[in-house]
Amino acid sequence: MKFSLLVLSSPYSRQASESALRFAKSCIDNGHTLYRIFFYQDGVQNASQLQTPAQDELNLHKEWQSLAENHDLDLVVCIAAALKRGVLNKEEADRYDQAAFNTDAPFELSGLGQLLDAQLQSDRLITFA
């Protein structure tokens, strides 16, 4: 079965990102397909590569990154939600004359149409808030 996940909360503030990560791993282990993981609202903070948790805490950015690299996952961050919260990749930082950027592949900044597409293309869209 084809799943997509919607992550709405900031990592380290709520449990949603960890739950989504565990759900994603379990999906893969059970032989399901993950069509897309879409980050919206404060969930966009998952894409920040500047997360620097203590050594004994989970680094969610790295977890998503390695999961994406090992399983060819589509990680899409809502561009409007990300820009206003200061989550930018190099291309957007250049476009808006910002001095720095903090996200990169495999996270991709794109529009809300990608959330709709995930909903249309997947059998189930599961929200983690």
């Binding site: 079965m1 799943f3 709405l8 709520r14 449990q15 949603a16 739950s19 565990r22 759900f23 379990s26 999906c27 282990d29 059970n30 399901h32 059998d123 189930r124 869209l125 599961i126 929200t127 983690f128 808030a129």
Partner: protein, 101 residues
């Protein structure tokens, strides 16, 4: 036929109470994150009484969230503890999945 994911404590949020307002006969409820505290809330206990409905709603609790919070001893049938893998399968088996937060 919907699987309702309760993701907030019913003692501070309306997630469970709003969910129950729209619950249909074939639906199931899954308690996760702080939603597992629903185990101790009268709203949930009320719908578990045999007289409450002709066909009782299936209620699941994500076991990792239950155990993490020290609720293991409080959980009792008919609330069924399930694993993350079983959670995924429940999502697959229900037509819709709605998160309440």
């Amino acid at each position: 036929m919907t699987l309702h994911l309760i993701q907030r404590s019913p003692f501070t949020h309306q997630a469970l109470s709003n969910c129950l307002k729209t619950l249909m006969p074939e639906d199931s409820i899954l308690l996760m994150e702080d939603g597992v505290y629903s185990i101790q809330h009268p709203l949930l206990q009320d719908i578990l009484t045999p007289a409450a409905q002709a066909k009782p709603t299936s209620i699941y609790a994500l076991i990792d969230d239950v155990n993490a919070r020290g609720l293991e001893a409080f959980n009792h049938t008919p609330i069924l503890n399930i694993s993350m893998a079983e959670f995924v399968e429940q999502c697959a088996q229900h037509k819709h999945v709605i998160s309440w937060y």
